[in-house]
Amino acid sequence: MPPKYYSDDTAWADVTPLPQDEGGPHPLAAINYTEEYSEAMSYLRALMAANEFSARALSLTEHIISMNPAHYTVWLYRAKVLEQTGGDLREEIEWLNPTALQHLKNYQIWHHRQTIIDKLGSPEGEADFISTMLEQDTKNYHVWSYRQWLVKRFGIFDEKELKWTEGMIEEDVRNNSAWNHRYYIVVGGRDGEAVSKDIITREIDYAEAAIRKAPQNQSPWNYLRGIVRYAKLPDSTLKDFALEFADLEKPDDVYSSHALDLLADIYAEEDGKKEEAKKALDLLATKYDPIKANYWNYRKGLLDQAEVAA
């Protein structure tokens, strides 16, 4: 698209642009703006200063956003223009879709979308759009945060949402965003109501099955331990499972550093098993997870301190 200039456009002839004032000869972080951006910003200032809420104001915000989506008042101004001119909110979403795809890392877009969808009062079409976004980046933080908002706003902590999340985990068992979303669906939507024993068992089984697929994947281990902690079960509940992947009797046959980590915690709590806990931590520090050696050695030090204190 060729650059758009307002000074050549008769529809804007009544507007006196407000040029940017840097306040002196020594601006900081000054940017070599394109002529197009400089001019558009001058017209934006003029319209904002006049509190003009009009169709042309809407198109000007669109132009600015295409060049600088992080402008913090242009979005608020746009929302106000939409409100004052009775703009079609469905059309707004239609425009936001490609804009979000162009600016994957921008979060103002999502905040704005949230405001619009909230007003529309329906999540219709949102799931499809989220899928399109996740095709670009399956771990896009803003998209997952937005999905959580949708789930909460429309009370859809349901079986369908859980199935969708399972699909995302199946596609990539290492997608931590998807695991986190599962935790939100299972634990987050309950308004203080406890998760039933059956669901806790189901979640433990689910995480364990995922670990058996890829034992060195942190995400389901974190999830598993998070669920166990939430249910206030002791870590020792998971001892037999951990032993499937790491047995201190067979130190050359370890399938997962996370199993050793868990075993170290379990043995630290068991009477007379401090040496086993230290052995697990030693294996981690020296062989199975040496990049975190400092951390494992620190944990070993804590065991010694506990001994002294006892």
Partner: protein, 433 residues
């Protein structure tokens, strides 16, 4: 992992001071290229990064004439609003057309105000022209009832901006700059609600020990650092757990320190480039000896094929892999220069920087993401940008890199600047000596 350029140990890993100084002086003295237009609204932030980088490198005095120094100070004051606080960019300034009806489009901005105050301190200003009382009053209005902070205050007192712990970090940072750790009203200006802010951080702790932007969102190192920095600014980090120490009644965060330390230490990763993130489930080479955090790490069959053995022999052994260790921002993500800062800072503030091995992290930054023209890129081979270049330099300073100034990790500035702030007479009156 890509083969090293004939390097074994880290002796040749050096910070190229001259190139970094060139890079930052260029950012200071010439216009930033137009692809920074998307950061037009972050100009105050970038201004601080540029000046502070030169300060860390010990080049600030040499880089600035007295006239330039004063000119920059005036530029910052030019961004002060008539009602107090700062805009983040001259781009929203309506000049003489600004009035009560249109000023909502040119609002006081939390990051703009935080970085404006830091720039003034960095340049040796006494902040006497800053409308400090107005800022402190406004801070109470940009805090939401749930304890979190927004970015601006909009129409009808509505707090605008997303759920973003960066605003809590900078909001509490502004408070620290203007009134230290003093709690309660100062000079008749009410305090922010510190307790509800701490509760807000605690609600944002995740099941794996990380911290996120709001309850149940995914743990993220940037947000964890902002939260922990903010707790430091309001003096609500966990008390050291000595047997004689009894806890006080004030809410503190984080609520499960051992788990948070586990999560922070787990940000160390060997996934430094996109190809490192390949899942090797089912590959014969996928064993603990070639341990790679992104690998599936299955047991090698008892009788591997010759091909399997050979390809395994070509893989780096864990000892040599440890030459470089990166830090990521989330579980199962690639390392990124800025996360070296976002992970190391909270560890340092919690008194546990020794939980990570800074030597291979330093080598990763210097050998892989440091750029030959100066500055740092996000990933190996990426061109430098202001954001990654500043945080890369800052984290090396936190590690104690020789030749860089001592720094305060929470303020993200040199201690010289912090000491200047602490020496200001008006501040000493509020904070005490």
């Amino acid at each position: 992992m890509a083969p090293a350029g004939g390097s074994v140990a880290g002796d040749q890993s050096t910070l190229n001071y001259a190139r970094h100084i060139n890079y930052w002086r260029r950012n200071l003295k010439t216009f930033l290229p137009h692809h920074y237009t998307g950061n037009d609204s972050n100009r105050m932030t970038f201004a601080l990064f540029i000046l502070s980088a030169l300060d860390l490198l010990g080049d600030l005095q040499a880089a600035l004439s007295a006239e330039e120094r004063q000119g920059y100070i005036e530029w910052v004051y030019h961004c002060q609003l008539p009602e107090g606080c700062f805009r983040a960019t001259p781009g929203t300034d309506f000049g003489s057309s600004r009035n009560a009806e249109n000023k909502i489009w040119d609002p006081a901005h939390v990051p703009g105000t935080y970085f404006a105050l830091l720039i003034l301190a960095l340049l040796g200003d006494d902040l006497k022209r800053v409308k400090r009382r107005e800022i402190l009053l406004w801070l109470t209005k940009v805090q939401r009832p749930d304890g979190s902070f927004g970015e601006t205050v909009g129409e009808n007192g509505q707090v605008e901006g997303g759920n973003d712990p960066r605003f809590g970090y900078m909001g509490t940072g502004i408070r620290w700059i203007l009134r230290g750790h003093a709690e309660g009203p100062v000079d008749g200006v009410p305090d922010i609600d510190v307790d509800s802010f701490v509760e807000c951080v605690r609600r944002s702790e995740t099941y794996d020990g990380g911290i996120t932007e709001a309850a149940f969102h995914e743990a993220h190192a940037g947000f964890a650092a902002c939260a922990i920095n903010a707790l430091y600014f309001v003096n609500r980090l966990p008390l050291p757990s000595t047997p004689s120490q009894t806890s006080d009644s004030r809410p503190r965060g984080v609520s499960n320190l051992p788990l948070t330390l586990h999560w922070l230490a787990s940000r160390q990763t060997l996934t430094l480039e996109h190809e490192d993130a390949m899942d090797t489930l089912g590959y014969e080479t996928d064993t603990s000896a070639a341990c790679h955090d992104s690998h599936s790490f299955v047991k090698l069959k008892s009788y591997p094929s010759t091909a399997g053995v050979q390809s395994f022999q070509d893989l780096p052994k864990s000892q040599s892999e440890l030459q470089w260790v990166g830090l990521n921002g989330r579980c199962n993500k690639i390392a990124d220069t800025c996360y070296a800062f976002w992970v190391s800072t909270p560890l340092k503030l919690l008194g546990h920087l020794d939980l990570v091995d800074i030597k291979p992290i330093r080598r990763w930054l210097l050998d892989r993401t440091q750029h030959m023209v100066g500055g740092f890129g996000k990933l190996p081979g990426d061109p430098p940008d202001i954001y990654h270049s500043y945080l890369g330099l800052m984290v090396l300073a936190i590690f104690g890199e020789a030749g860089l100034k001592d720094v305060d990790p929470a303020l993200c500035m040199s201690n010289r600047v912090k000491e200047h702030l602490e020496s200001l007479p008006w501040r000493r009156e509020i904070v005490g000596n």
